[in-house]
């Protein structure tokens, strides 16, 4: 009886520990893992919901807020971290540039778009930025992989429009004793659908403080969404339909041009 009770207690404790661990994991909903300062007021992101339809070509997000004081500020959109494996290019036999192996990282954010009111290196020292997860250097240190090569991973992600760090994206203006923040963040069409945290971080004497956070949701809609669903859930049918449409298009053009050609000869 007593041992059963103890076992229940142990299981209960394990569940609680697991739940606490899960809560501690950073996710899109719990973005700011920094100590909070006096919060920013009226924090908003426009648009907060981005529909990805057939004519979507990326979006520009505008973040606005009222800051508690005039301080250097960073606005960051960050996707969930996940393992990433890339092919490494190197010289083979001293002549040919080819894939020579793989580099694996444990934690690389899917998306990392940062805008700041001044260059990051002017806001705080390296260690502080690393702890706050701000800047590419911080990402490299937290990646759990080849740090020397991480610069190349950044280039790859920047080329794909998934990473960007700009020190001119945040503007501040003071009006009747209130500092207004305006930030503009480019979202490329490559940023996958999902919910992303938008964090506002202010620096007080070189110490980063979480001023607030909100979320932005990118969602596929309409035909784009239906096509993607069919492609993933009914792959065979999708493939057959794609082939049938291609065949019909090819033959129809053949017929149309064929008529013209027979007149010509």
């Amino acid at each position: 009886m007593r041992s059963t009770f103890l076992r229940c207690l142990a299981v209960g404790a394990a569940i609680l520990t697991f739940a606490a661990g899960a809560l501690a994991e950073p996710s899109a909903d719990t973005p700011c893992d920094l100590a909070g300062g006096a919060p920013a007021k009226n924090l908003s992101v426009e648009p907060a919901h981005v529909p990805i339809g057939l004519f979507y070509g990326g979006a520009d997000l505008h973040v606005s807020a009222e800051l508690p004081a005039d301080m250097p500020t960073v606005v960051l959109i960050r996707g969930e971290s996940a393992p990433l494996s890339v092919k490494k290019k190197g010289k083979v036999w001293g002549v040919l540039w080819m894939n020579v192996g793989e580099a694996a990282y444990e934690h690389v954010p899917a998306v990392y778009i940062l805008a700041s009111s001044a260059p990051l290196k002017d806001l705080a020292d390296e260690k502080t930025l690393d702890r706050a997860g701000l800047g590419y250097q911080a990402l490299a240190r937290a990646s759990g992989g080849d740090q020397a090569l991480f610069g190349e991973v950044v280039k790859l992600e920047e080329r794909d429009g998934l990473f960007s760090v700009r020190d001119d994206g945040v503007t501040k203006r003071s009006d009747a004793g209130v500092t207004h923040l305006e930030a503009s963040l480019p979202i490329s069409a490559r940023v996958p659908a999902g919910k992303y945290a938008v964090q506002v971080v202010g620096f007080e004497n070189g110490t980063p403080r979480c001023l607030g956070s909100t979320t932005v949701t990118l969602e596929q809609t309409g035909l784009a969404r239906s096509l993607r669903t069919i492609a993933y859930d009914h792959g065979l049918l999708y493939g057959i339909l794609a082939v049938v449409v291609a065949l019909l298009a090819g033959l129809a053009t053949g017929l149309v041009f064929g008529k013209g050609a027979s007149k010509g000869h």
Partner: protein
């Protein structure tokens, strides 16, 4: 005009895709190649993930080759008998090639071997076609006379093979083992190099099967049509990498490009066609070689490309 590609998860200019389709479709109709060896790298260059680029391109080639095959069929340029035999060989070879590829990967250094084979292959096929057509354009009669007097070892070997068959459309007669075996060979090479194989198939039919150039183009397109139907359905059902919107825009351009290619092809002599194709093949080889010799701007890449 930006358009969103739901499977590739990216946005590109619709007119750019139609234009690319038209260009590659034109070459397809003109030379009887699928054009994947040109289109896939171009798509990767404009930001399409490599696996989606290759799979969606094969969907597009279905349309272009259907359009081209139909036009060539009307002109009497498709040898169905020869095409079917080579197709059967190609399917067997393709399956074998995928296995060989796995074995090569397990041995390591596979990438290096494949790339070198690819460049050497493109260089020798392109170079041989170029010089052969050039000399043919200069003085055809002298060469064919000497060939008639001294039949080559290859010719004697081919004539000794059993199961002889007439191919009236191509005007040749040979053992059915020839197209079957060459189909297998091209299938293996194509699978290893990750391409459709049209640009190897065309020279093989011209030089080893001695088929007339115009029938070669039509027959090659006929085979490519079936190969690409197979690849599209496999990729869509197993890897979910076919982006229909991408393929649709490409095929809008390519079906028309293919028709124009067929018409232009009719006005050109066989040797002019061969020399043009050889130049395209040599340019692709040159680009690959440059890519291998120059340091890439980014020293890492996503999985799935060449």
């Amino acid at each position: 005009m930006p358009i969103y590609l739901p499977v590739a998860s990216t946005s590109v200019d619709a007119l750019l895709l139609i234009g690319l389709g038209a260009l590659v479709g034109f070459m397809s109709g003109l030379f009887g190649v699928g054009g994947g060896f040109l289109m896939t790298p171009l798509l990767i260059m404009i930001g399409i993930p490599p696996t989606v680029a290759a799979a969606s391109d094969s969907n597009q080639i279905v349309a272009a080759s259907a359009s081209g095959t139909y036009a060539h069929f009307r002109a009497g340029n498709v040898d169905f008998k020869m095409g079917t035999l080579m197709l059967v060989g190609g399917l067997i070879g393709g399956t074998a090639g995928v296995r060989i590829m796995k074995l090569l990967r397990a041995l390591g250094e596979a990438n290096f071997v494949i790339t070198v084979v690819y460049v050497v292959m493109l260089g020798s096929v392109g170079g041989y076609m170029f010089f052969e057509s050039l000399s043919a354009l200069r003085g055809r009669s002298a060469r064919s006379e000497s060939a008639a007097v001294h039949p080559s070892t290859y010719r004697r070997l081919v004539e000794a093979l059993p199961f002889k068959m007439d191919f009236p459309r191509s005007g040749v007669s040979m053992s059915l083992l020839m197209p079957l075996a060459l189909g297998i060979l091209v299938g293996i090479l194509a699978a290893i190099m990750g391409v459709g194989g049209g640009f190897i198939m065309v020279p093989v039919m011209v030089y080893l099967l001695r088929m007339p150039m115009h029938v070669v183009v039509g027959t090659s397109l006929f085979q490519i049509l079936f190969t690409c139907i197979n690849v599209t359905i496999l990729q869509a059902s197993m890897n979910h990498t076919v982006d229909f919107i991408l393929a649709l825009l490409l095929l809008l351009g390519s079906v028309i490009g293919a028709q124009i290619g067929v018409r232009v092809g009719k006005r050109l002599k066989a040797d002019q066609l061969k020399i043009l194709l050889s130049i395209v093949v040599l340019v692709v080889m040159g680009k690959m070689l440059f890519g291998l010799l120059l340091q890439p701007s980014v020293l890492v890449a996503h999985h799935g490309g060449h």
